[in-house]
C-alpha cells in the first residue's frame, strides 16, 4: 500500500486552506483504512505529527474498543454502503482519550481511482460529559426499577408462603435471583438464643459443615451481626481472619462477598440472613438498603409462618386427642373408622365421628362435620361431640338427638349449621335407624350392589325449627355394611357432588375388605382439600 506524500497535507490553495484550518478534524483514508491525509485539527486532537499518522491505518487512532468496533462494523458498512453517520468513539491522545463524534463518507472521485473515504471528526468532550450524566441518571433509574421489581416479586412470593420452609424456599430462590445473589440462607435463632440453625438446610454436594446448626463457640459473622444488630459484610481475602473457616467456606461456595443481615421478631433477636455473592454479582453497594428490606419482609413472613405452624400443631393435636377414643368392641358388630386431616393443614379440623354401646344391645354411632377449620372448628367439634354423646347415653333416638342438637348449636358458638348423620343398631334384631342433618346419605353396601339411603334427610343443625322426620329404619343384614362419611371423601375440585357419590359407590361393593383398604389408601394419598372421615358399621 503506497501512502500519500505527507507534504500534501500542508499544500497551498483555498480548498486546502479550508481543509487545513477547518474547526473539526479531517482524515482521508483508503479502502483498507490507510490514512492518506489529515488536517491540523486532527493532529492537534491526537497530539501527533503528520508522519506519525500518514500511512497508518485510521482505526489505530482510536481506543482499543473503538478499533474493534471500527473493524467489525464500520469497515463493513463503509464498504457496503459507503458511509456511516454520527458514530461516537474515542481518539487516543497519549494516555488519555478525546471523545469524538465522526461521520465518514466515500469521497466523490472520478470513478477510476481507488475508493477513498473522508472522515469528519468533532471533539465532543463537553457533550460527552453531559451524555455521561444522562446515562448515569438512566442507569440509576434502571437500578431503582430493578430494585422495585425485585422487592415486589419477593413480597408477592412471601405473601403466598405458608410454612417456614415455604419462606425459606422463597428467600433461597426468588430473592436470590432478584438480588443477584448466588445463595441466600435463612438462619433462625433457637428458643434459648444459643444456637443458629438454617430454616431449611440446603443439601450440599461437598458435604461441608457450613450449613449445620452452630452455637456461639463458632465465631461466625452471624453472631456479630446479631449482637450489633447491623449488617456485617465479609469480602474474601479481607477480614476473614476474624472468623475462622469462613475463607474456606467462601472459596468452596464461590462467594466473593457475603453479607449477614440480622432480623428481629417483635423485640427479640430472631435470626440472620446470609447472602453470598459471586464475582459477577449484580448487586451494588447502594443496594444494601434493598437487601435489608427483603430481610425485613422475610422476617415478617417467618414470624407469620411460625405462628401458623404453632396453631396448626394445636389443631392437629387436639383433633387427634378427640378422635383417639377407641371404638367399642362387641362380638356382634364390626366397626371401622378413618380420619385424615386436609393436606393443606390450615383447612384441617372439623370432621368427627363417634360410636358407643349405649345399652347392652344397642350401638349408637354418629359422623359429623363442623363448618370452618382450625382451632375454632376443632373446639366446636369437641363441644358438639360431647353433647351428642351425652344425649345418646340419655337414651334419645337418632331424630330426637338431632333435634336437641338443633337447640344446642343455637347457643354454642361455632357449631351452627354443622352437619351430622346419626343412627343406632339393635345388635339382637339387626334393625338400624338413621337420621340426617344436612349430611351426605350413607352407603349401604351389599354383596353385589350398593345403595345410598337417601330417605328422611333434613337441614343442617340449627338451621330450621320445623321438627325433623322420623328416622329411616331398616334391617342391616350380616352380609351388608353401612358406610357413613363426610363430604371430604367424595368432593373434588371442579366436580359436582354426584360424580363423587357415583365414584364411591362403584369403589365400595361387596363385603370384601379390600375395597375398604383401597378407600383408606386413596384418601391417604390423594391431595384432598378437606378433612376425610368415615365410619363403617357391619354385623358379624
Amino acid at each position: 500500500m503506497d501512502s500519500a506524500d505527507p507534504a500534501e497535507s500542508v499544500g497551498p490553495g483555498r480548498s486546502d486552506d479550508l481543509f487545513e484550518s477547518a474547526p473539526c478534524g479531517y482524515a482521508i483514508f483508503d479502502e483498507d483504512g490507510i490514512i492518506l491525509r489529515v488536517n491540523k485539527m486532527l493532529l492537534t486532537m491526537v497530539d501527533a505529527e503528520p508522519t506519525d499518522v500518514i500511512g497508518r491505518r485510521f482505526p489505530k487512532l482510536l481506543s482499543v474498543g473503538g478499533q474493534l468496533f471500527f473493524e467489525m462494523r464500520l469497515q463493513s458498512l463503509l464498504r457496503l454502503q459507503g458511509f456511516v453517520h454520527e458514530v461516537a468513539l474515542d481518539l487516543k491522545r497519549g494516555d488519555t482519550r478525546v471523545p469524538v463524534l465522526m461521520s465518514i463518507a466515500e469521497a466523490a472521485g472520478d470513478g477510476t481511482g481507488p475508493r477513498e473515504f473522508l472522515a469528519t471528526i468533532a471533539d465532543i468532550t463537553e457533550r460527552r460529559r453531559y451524555e455521561d450524566e444522562l446515562r448515569e441518571a438512566r442507569r440509576l433509574a434502571d437500578a431503582q426499577r430493578r430494585r422495585v421489581v425485585a422487592l415486589q416479586t419477593v413480597s408477592a412470593e412471601l405473601s403466598k408462603a405458608v410454612t417456614r420452609s415455604d419462606v425459606a424456599a422463597v428467600i433461597e430462590s426468588t430473592a436470590a435471583a432478584g438480588l443477584g445473589a448466588d445463595a441466600i440462607t435463612l438462619w433462625r435463632l433457637d428458643a434459648d438464643d444459643t444456637e443458629l440453625r438454617p430454616v431449611s438446610s440446603p443439601v450440599r454436594e461437598d458435604g461441608d459443615d457450613w450449613f449445620v446448626p452452630f452455637d456461639r463457640e463458632a465465631k461466625r459473622p452471624h453472631w456479630q451481626a446479631l449482637d450489633t444488630m447491623s449488617v456485617v459484610t465479609v469480602t474474601r481475602g479481607d477480614g476473614a481472619s476474624d472468623f475462622p473457616g469462613i475463607e474456606a467456606a467462601m472459596l468452596s461456595l464461590g462467594h466473593e462477598l457475603v453479607r449477614f443481615i440480622p432480623f428481629r421478631s417483635g423485640k427479640r433477636l430472631a435470626g440472620v440472613v446470609s447472602m453470598g455473592f459471586g464475582e459477577a454479582s449484580q448487586i451494588e453497594a447502594e443496594d444494601e438498603e434493598l437487601l435489608v428490606e427483603v430481610v425485613r419482609q422475610a422476617a415478617a413472613a417467618l414470624e407469620r409462618a411460625e405462628l401458623y405452624e404453632q396453631q396448626r400443631d394445636i389443631v392437629l393435636m387436639w383433633q387427634e386427642n378427640l378422635m383417639s377414643t377407641s371404638l367399642p368392641t362387641d362380638g356382634r358388630v364390626r366397626l371401622r373408622s378413618h380420619y385424615a386431616p386436609a393436606t393443606q393443614v390450615f383447612r384441617a379440623g372439623g370432621d368427627w365421628f363417634d360410636a358407643e354401646l349405649v345399652d347392652d344391645d344397642r350401638l349408637w354411632f354418629i359422623v359429623g362435620d363442623v363448618v370452618g377449620h382450625g382451632v375454632a372448628a376443632a373446639a366446636a367439634m369437641g363441644k358438639l361431640r360431647s353433647a351428642a354423646r351425652a344425649l345418646a347415653h340419655a337414651g334419645f333416638g337418632p331424630t330426637e338427638l338431632l333435634e336437641r342438637l338443633d337447640r344446642f348449636v343455637e347457643r354454642t358458638p361455632g357449631t351452627f349449621a354443622s352437619t351430622a348423620i346419626c343412627g343406632d343398631l339393635d345388635l339382637v334384631t339387626g334393625v338400624a335407624r338413621i337420621a340426617r342433618a344436612g349430611h351426605p346419605p350413607p352407603l349401604l353396601v351389599a354383596e353385589d350392589s350398593s345403595t345410598y339411603l337417601e330417605a328422611q334427610g333434613g337441614p343442617p343443625l340449627g338451621v330450621s325449627r320445623i321438627s325433623r322426620p322420623d328416622p329411616m329404619q331398616f334391617e342391616l343384614s350380616p352380609t351388608e355394611r353401612l358406610v357413613l362419611f363426610t363430604d371430604g371423601l367424595i368432593e373434588r375440585r371442579n366436580e359436582i357432588l354426584d360424580v363423587g357419590l357415583d365414584r364411591l359407590q362403584s369403589l365400595l361393593s361387596g363385603t370384601d375388605n379390600r375395597s375398604l383398604r383401597d378407600l383408606v389408601r386413596a384418601s391417604a394419598t390423594r391431595d384432598h382439600l378437606d378433612d376425610i372421615c368415615f365410619l363403617v358399621v357391619a354385623r358379624t
Partner: protein, 306 residues
Amino acid sequence: MSSRVAVVCSCRPPHSSAGPAKEWRDVGSYGLSVDLSRRFNVTESGVPDGPVVLMVHGFGCDQSMWRWMRLPFEATYRVISFDLIGFGGSDPEAYDPVKYESLEGYADDIVMLIEGLGLSDVTVVGHSVASMIAVLAAGERPDLIASLALLVPSARYIDDDEYSGGFTLDDIDDLMESLERNYLGWANSMAPVIMGRPDRPDLETELTELFCQADPVIATRFGNATFRSDNRGDLDRVQCPTLVVACQDDPIAPPAAVDFVANHIAGSIRITLDAVGHCPNLSAPEETAQAVLDFLQQLPTPSPAG
C-alpha cells in the same frame, strides 16, 4: 448431486424492497422449508444440485458480507447464506435471550438449518466469530459438515496466562461501551438515502439501503457472547478438513490467535492472505474466495451417499 446447472444471481441484501428483484430466485422453488428460509432469511444461489457451501456471517454485520465473495463459488457450488437470529432480515420473533446467550445457540441453528434444508456434506465458511460457531457445529455434528473454512478466527479474544488473544478485559469493556454509545446506529432508524456511486456503476444512484441492521440489545448481547467466549477447548473436536485463513494487519484476529486455532485443529491448513484488516470477504472477495476454492478442490469429492 451431479448436475451442474448455473443459476445467475447474487446476494440478496436484507430488507430489500425496491432492489434488483429479477435476479433473485425464490428460495421456496428449491423445495426448501419456507419456514426455515423465512426464519433465517436464507439466500441461495449457484448450482442447485451442486455441493453446498454455507456462509455464516460474524459480529457486526449480516449476510451482506458475502455479497461479493459468493460469486466465484456460484459456477460450481450451491451457495447458501443466512442471517443469524437477531441480525439482518432474520425473524425477530425467533430470538431467545437464553438460547443465544452463548455461541452454542447459534451453532444449534446451523445444525437446524442443515438438517431442515436436507443438506449433507456441507462446507461451512465462517467469518470471524462465526468460525467458532462453525467449529461448535462441526464438533457436534460431524455427520453433517464435511469441511470448514475459518476466516480470521480466534478461539478466545481475551489474553489468558500464556495465551495471547490480543485483548484485555478492559478492552472488551471499552468495546461494549462503544456499542452502547452507538446504540442507535444498529437500529433501523435512518431512512435510506440516495447515493451517487461513480466508482461502482452497478450501484449508480440507486436507493441505497442500509446494511447490517440489528436490534441494538441483541447486538450487544452477541458482542458479549462473542468477545467473552472461550472456545479453545472445542477446537480438537473438529475432525473434518479445515482451512484457517489469516489476514495482514488484522487487529481482531492477530497471528498468534489464528495460529492457536490452526495448531489445535488436527490436519488443518493455515494460510495468510494479502488482504488487510478483518473483513477479507469484503475487502478482497476474489482472493478470499479463491483460497477457499483451492482448498475445496484438493479435497476428495464426497461420495453421493454422503
